[in-house]
Amino acid sequence: MTVGHGTEEGAMVGPLINAKQRDRVEELVGASVSAGAKVVVGGKRPGRKGYFYEPTVVTGVEPGMPLDAEEVFGPVMPVASFGSVDEVIERANTYEAGLAAYVFTQDLNTALVVSERLEAGMVAVNDWMPVTAEAPFGGVKGSGIGRETGSEGLAEYLEQKSVFIGGVQLP
């Protein structure tokens, strides 16, 4: 998992866009650690020029902790555990965000029922990239309004006009 400038051979993890974004990621990690979470990998800047932050794994992340409640926008993986389907669906649907959700299972029933109950505009089952020209993309709840791409995406940029023609009769 090489951290490096985008033009460096083999670089996989580039920088964050600017200092402010990196500061934010650091704050979210720091605040969560103060609340009891644990950094097991990374959690710091590599010593080089550029707005880099190391790939980081944090365990013991509880609902309400900053790394859980906020969209991190950084190379940080907060990990938590669950026991039952009902419990994980409730936890997954907790926040106002509702853009994408991911489910990993080989069971058909689990895949169908969980994907139906998740509050998200896109659900990826055994898949990591729910983005393609032919499918609609967008969010529910606080993640947005409308859909881009897919046939739905074209319809968003058209207005439907109803044209009524009266008095049509045979001569």
Binding site: G6, G14, M77, V88, F137, S143, L158
Partner: protein, 303 residues
Amino acid sequence: MPERDFGAPQRSMLIGGEWVQAKDGGTWDLVDPGSEEVVEQVAYGGADDVFTAIDAAQAAFPGWAGLTAYQRGAVLEEAADWIGAHVGDLALITTEESGKPLGDSKGEWLSAATYLRWFAGEGVRAYGRIVPPSTPKRRILVIPQPSGVVGTITAWNFPVYNIVRTWAAALAAGNTVVGRPAEYTPRSAFLLGHALMEAGAPAGVINVVNGDPAAQGQAMLDDPRLRKLAFTGSSRVGKLLMDGASKTLTRLALELGGNAPVIVFPDAGEMSRVARLAARFKVRNAGQVCIAPQRFLVHDDVV
């Protein structure tokens, strides 16, 4: 650092078919986030540039909407061809301003070509309806028509994709466009505009501005000729735009923040593979992706 400099189309606004400086002459120091160095100055203006761009987009609208969807599609296809022919140079420009690995920038530009081609094909299928009337001697048609001038305000994390997914649809449908990219990654947008111009888009059909975000966003909302605004960015700004849109009832498309749960059941299959892919997709674009896998929720039996 890029091997080839595209000239004015790399650092200027595109308004009415011309590559121009900001009305007030303003510029922005573009920084490479991977080195913290300033790489060049790009045009950076304000509300006036938006109004001029809307003038051009409005003037170009009847002609563009009056073409057949096939004629519009041909322009999109040719822009896709142009991108394919220049993808190496385009990728360097995008990597330099966004920080993302070169392979990702190249993939993003190639996907932009895919979106242009897909919407060229979809635009010719914007079918209307004939509805059986309940009243005698009447006919009812439902005809889809483009709205007019469509605006885009987009984020820096996918400086090509965020833009092209809207531009391709809006243009295929017959709208004209005024786009404002993120000030951190404007060159990718300027060059996407350049691709469309090289493909024969008439002057004013595609316009790209850059400048003060609040002033330019407000200008887009205030001008009633800009009928729909597509925004990709933070939920905070999305809410501000929604407030502002009420002034002229500007239609809004909002692509805001996410916080994707990743639910891993014990029967997920080969766990080491799931973990390996999880890490790879987590660090994609250094985690700066609205659909990034975020909250990893792993069943007790797996942990």
